[in-house]
């Protein structure tokens, strides 16, 4: 199990296709984007066709209850969901108990492989909302003790929380003794640029968090909305990472639950395992083709023939195909990183990959091929710094 499809609006049949092809081994469902009856039917369909070949999770997205103004899609159709909850509605233990049992009870008959607990979003490990999140998680462990399905405690917090290492340590001390199967973690990103983890301290501490929970304490760790950054987390023990077809399904932002402020259609992207990035088909991949460098970035998946046999600018590269290609590349990389036998060996392999990607970028830049900031190699330097720093601290 490595890559999970992060479900969102407009799923078509690509999740089923990816499961058949072995590119994704699980799905994290989004009630915001599907009516309850349709989602229940979809789960039944997946189960019927794939039985236990797929891990089906349901993110209850309870954290949207505190977002205002909110764009919560179909969430109000779900009986456990209550929009516009304020902090005062989380003071009474009985209220928290009710929220938790409503969310858990809703999931029980759906035929899921794991139950995911409800949570609230918090910005910092010391803020009052984090205490509410802990209370909900604690209550979930109580209710989850007798369930047939294993329980994953969900935590959704801002990436800047990871800057405060002392608070992170204290938080880990609390959650690392809970008697649950694992955790479903979602990290809110503040930079909407693609991938965009610009701070290696945050990334290092996210690796530390994952390593402590997964590798040291043997929890099952699933990180939602992770995309390429998930490779670093697989290297330190994450069981699975989720990624989807839109950028909003590849990195998490509360904007996904807030009224839209406009935007433009996504430009077609091509995911290159050699570059560890998704670059623009036009102009970047087209420029690479024109300089005769295409073989150095093409990923050789079952979908690459379309782009590899001519000028990518003239090839059809519809979003569904791009998504299936993206999942295939990512799952292959994740499997490669995660099956090295030890965390140290996985990190060695990943560092080699990153260094090769840096070298490939440099080659392309030397050949006069420009990249946008978001599709360039800036991330790779951050990743290398984070990995080195993590290894030094963990003694790996």
């Amino acid at each position: 199990m490595y890559t999970y499809a992060q479900h969102g609006y407009g799923k078509s049949d690509k999740i089923e296709t990816a499961i058949r092809q072995g590119s994704v081994s699980g799905v994290i469902l989004s009630p915001r984007d599907e009516q309850p009856e349709r989602l229940a039917q979809y789960i039944a369909t997946l189960r019927q066709e794939f039985a236990d070949q797929v891990t089906i999770l349901f993110d209850p997205q309870f954290y949207a209850t505190t977002v205002t103004p909110v764009r919560d899609g179909y969430l109000p159709d779900y009986p456990y969901y209550q929009p516009g909850l304020t902090r005062g509605r989380f003071i009474a233990p009985l209220d928290i108990q009710q929220y938790v049992s409503d969310v858990i009870d809703y999931q029980l008959p759906l035929g899921l492989d794991r139950i995911i607990s409800p949570t609230v979003f918090f910005s910092d490990f010391t803020d009052p909302w984090s205490q509410i999140a802990l209370s909900m998680a604690q209550q979930s462990t109580v209710l989850g003790a007798g369930l047939a399905q294993p329980l994953l405690l969900s935590l959704v917090f801002d990436e800047t929380a990871l800057r405060n290492r002392t608070a992170l340590n204290d938080f880990l001390d609390i959650i690392s003794v809970w008697d649950v199967e694992g955790f479903y973690l979602v990290i809110r990103r503040n930079d909407t640029t693609y991938q965009a983890f610009s701070d290696d301290l945050i990334l290092k501490n996210l690796m530390y968090l994952t390593y402590v929970l997964a590798e040291v304490n043997d929890f099952e760790i699933v990180l939602g909305y992770s995309d390429f950054v998930g490779l670093l987390l697989h290297a330190v023990g994450a069981e699975a990472t989720g990624t989807g077809w839109y950028n909003t399904l590849r990195q998490f932002s509360l904007a996904r639950f807030q009224p839209a402020t406009g935007g433009r259609p996504a430009r077609p992207r091509y995911t290159s395992d050699a570059l560890l990035n998704s670059i623009l088909v036009v102009p970047e991949l087209a420029a690479i083709y024109q300089r005769g460098r295409l073989p150095q970035v093409i990923a050789t998946t079952s979908y690459d023939g379309t782009l590899a046999n001519g000028n990518p600018a003239n090839a059809a590269w519809p979003p569904d195909v791009a998504c299936l290609h993206h999942w295939e590349v990512l799952s292959r990389l994740a499997a490669e990183v995660a099956t090295q036998g030890s965390v140290a060996a996985s990190l060695d392999r990943l560092q080699e990959r990153i260094q090769q990607a840096v070298a490939t970028y440099n080659l392309l830049l030397t050949a006069g091929i420009p990249f946008e900031v978001a599709t360039g190699q800036r991330e790779l330097d951050v990743w290398l710094r984070a990995i080195r720093s993590f290894r030094q601290e963990a003694g790996l």
């Binding site: 340590n169 001390d173 609390i174 003794v177 402590v212 040291v216 304490n217 043997d218």
Partner: protein, 299 residues
């Protein structure tokens, strides 16, 4: 706090039918008399209560009426009475009570008599333990910590002097629950007061402002120090000539040399277990005592 001054004669007068069968031993705030009644051997522990504590009915044995020393004794008796692990000392034949002797108000209670030696004496006289004994020590104390934590209690004073090795069976028993901490109960200790023996504290125990967040992993750290000492014959953070402040600084900030640097026949697995127990952060130790026991079983 001073020790009581009572003698064997006082004990015989106080508890007719009880024979004192050896010289009393001084341990911390307690005087311990090896005793026998009929065929039963036990250790009678006597400690002074606070003279300023209210004088109420001598039969009223309760935390509310007595002072801190009495409360600790009551807690100790309550804990050992609840526990069934063979690695936790058992109650003795004499029920707890209090009295006034020689102008001193004292509280007394009894524990099973353990034929054997304490680990501090063993290490001092015999040197480091053989590997099988280190493993047995780890298993025994981990089992004791596990049972205490199942009752939401932390021992807080795991050290060689509080561990006995039974003669014959060579199993280890944890003594002295006097400062055990109940995370779900009121604290007996006054705010800001650190209890326990400092060079066996966990980092979170030293940083007492975080005391209420402690759990069984604090005891696992102390066990790590004890196992290190049993394996290497030396304390991981303290050496002769060092002040306690220096030792505490080491415990908070310095990673010790692995035991294998002092003793080459320590297997890598045992070395790794001890070093993991000594991690500064509780979340880097073991998630459960069962995980530790499984690791020890694989050595």
């Amino acid at each position: 706090m001073a020790l009581p001054t009572l003698t064997e004669a006082h004990i015989r007068k106080l508890l007719p039918g009880v024979d004192v069968v050896g010289a009393p031993l001084a341990g911390g705030q307690k005087l311990v008399f090896p005793c026998r009644m009929a065929d039963s051997r036990f250790a009678l522990k006597v400690m002074l209560t606070n003279p300023a504590a209210p004088q109420s009915s001598p039969d009223d044995y309760s935390v509310e009426v007595f002072d801190e020393a009495t409360a600790r004794a009551a807690r100790e008796m309550s804990i050992i009475a609840e526990c069934v692990s063979p690695h936790i000392v058992k109650p003795g034949a004499i029920p707890p009570g209090r009295t006034e002797i020689n102008g001193e108000r004292v509280i007394y209670f009894s524990e099973e008599w353990i034929d054997g030696r304490d680990l501090r004496t063993i290490i001092r006289t015999d040197g480091p333990l053989p590997l099988a004994q280190i493993k047995s020590l780890g298993v025994g104390i981990a089992e004791a910590v596990k049972e205490l934590w199942s009752k939401k209690k932390i021992h807080r004073d795991i050290k060689p002097a509080n561990i006995m090795r039974r003669n014959g069976a060579s199993t280890f028993v944890l003594l002295d629950m006097g400062i055990a901490f109940d995370v779900e109960d009121v604290s007996i200790t006054a705010p800001g007061v650190i209890v326990g023996t400092m060079v066996y504290y966990s980092p979170e125990q030293i940083e007492f402002v975080r005391k209420r967040q402690m759990d069984f992993r604090s005891d696992l750290f102390s066990l790590g120090i004890v196992m290190y000492e049993a394996a290497a014959g030396r304390h991981p953070f303290w050496s002769a000539g060092m002040t306690s402040q220096q030792a505490v600084g080491n415990m908070l900030q310095v990673s010790p040399d692995p035991p294998v640097t002092h003793r080459t026949d320590i297997p890598q697995q045992m070395n790794a277990i001890i070093m993991r127990l000594l991690a500064k952060q509780p979340h880097l130790r073991y998630r459960t005592c069962d995980d530790l026991l499984a690791a020890l079983a694989s050595v």
